[in-house]
Symmetry: C2
Subunit: 210 residues, 2 copies
Amino acid sequence: MKISELSRTSGVSLPTVKYYLREGLLPPGRPTGRNQAEYGDAHLRRLRLIRALLDVGNLSVAGVRQVLQAVDDAELPGHHLLGTAHEAIAGVPRADRGTPGWQAARAEAGRIVAGRGWRVHERAPALDQLADAIAALRELGQEDMLAMVDDYAEATERLARQEVALVLARGDRAAMVEGLVTGTVLGEAVLTALRRLAQEHTSAGLAGPG
Amino acid sequence: MKISELSRTSGVSLPTVKYYLREGLLPPGRPTGRNQAEYGDAHLRRLRLIRALLDVGNLSVAGVRQVLQAVDDAELPGHHLLGTAHEAIAGVPRADRGTPGWQAARAEAGRIVAGRGWRVHERAPALDQLADAIAALRELGQEDMLAMVDDYAEATERLARQEVALVLARGDRAAMVEGLVTGTVLGEAVLTALRRLAQEHTSAGLAGPG
DNA sequence: CCATCGCGGATAGCATCACTCCCCATTATC
DNA sequence: GATAATGGGGAGTGATGCTATCCGCGATGG
């Protein structure tokens, strides 16, 4: 497959494919001449993964590169890959980390996790994100929303068990690794979309604040 | 309160406060002279909401403006406000909407929702987002992940019932409206953070693909 | 009462990001 | 042998979320 074919069959414009090559998201093709290279199915597949991570997962180009490097690292243990995916998925940190209010929220996040008996890395980005959200809720005087945290935790714990089981059910390592990444990133997209739909359905019939 | 105080107590830089005023995110203060204005607690509160939506909710400035206009519209029924929040929260649509693969995914999204008996607006952005994710999973040959959809739907349905009940429990309309927005946007941040932590915990003890 | 500081209002500039365009010499392909 | 496509690379683009600077006015402090 030539680059133009790769572009056509993937639906990604040729300049963009070149850009991904330059950025190291897409590995170079096998050179067949001084200015010619051959691309295979793996490239097409990789290109689709890139688009999914960028468009559906809202990762940055740098984040995608990070994830793909981890995917390609055959040595990396699975949970490190998960950590890399979580780091790449984490957007820009809030500015107010370090304020007393945030520190308190961060401690609360730690307590929530510990209270559930969850064993997670001390510096998991998701702990900071949880603290961001808790701090924001408190600042806005919406602490009663925190009553939902237990239910969220309960639900996500059950879902995570199934997700992990699903990925582990795969045959080879390569399939597991891709499943891990897509499950993490695209699964999140599916979950949030369904949450919004469930909210809409639930609030539709009821008398809202109107 | 003068603008400099508003800036100092909120932690938002003065040029940024001015920018929000220009962009119509923050209503102008009550003028006390030709070049002086008075800001109140409502402004401080609003400023914090803006930062939460921007930083934690990852909304764009345009999205925040949209949400705040809906919040301030006393006539708007509650479920319209929810719809506005969902629209503002929706990022850039995927490029491949309109391809046969996407159309099929979109139809599948419709079936999933209908199969649950969920009554949602035909053109809810979340339906398209769900289709985006389904299309991406199919393109990547990860269809077995779709087995999770039912569990996600079940969980989000239960959570949505509680969330809506929590918001409706509030006294006045203003509190409901703010609860609706923060519950939608910040609740999502809490839920995804917890999901990542649950994943990490669940996959930590097990033998991963390493 | 006058110097200075902060105010509001506005325009312009900046950094980042994800592309997109154009150029080149080279080389398939018709 | 003419045309088109290729790889490689640098520069340009448009959107976004600020940030900097300027201006004339007026509140404030000695």
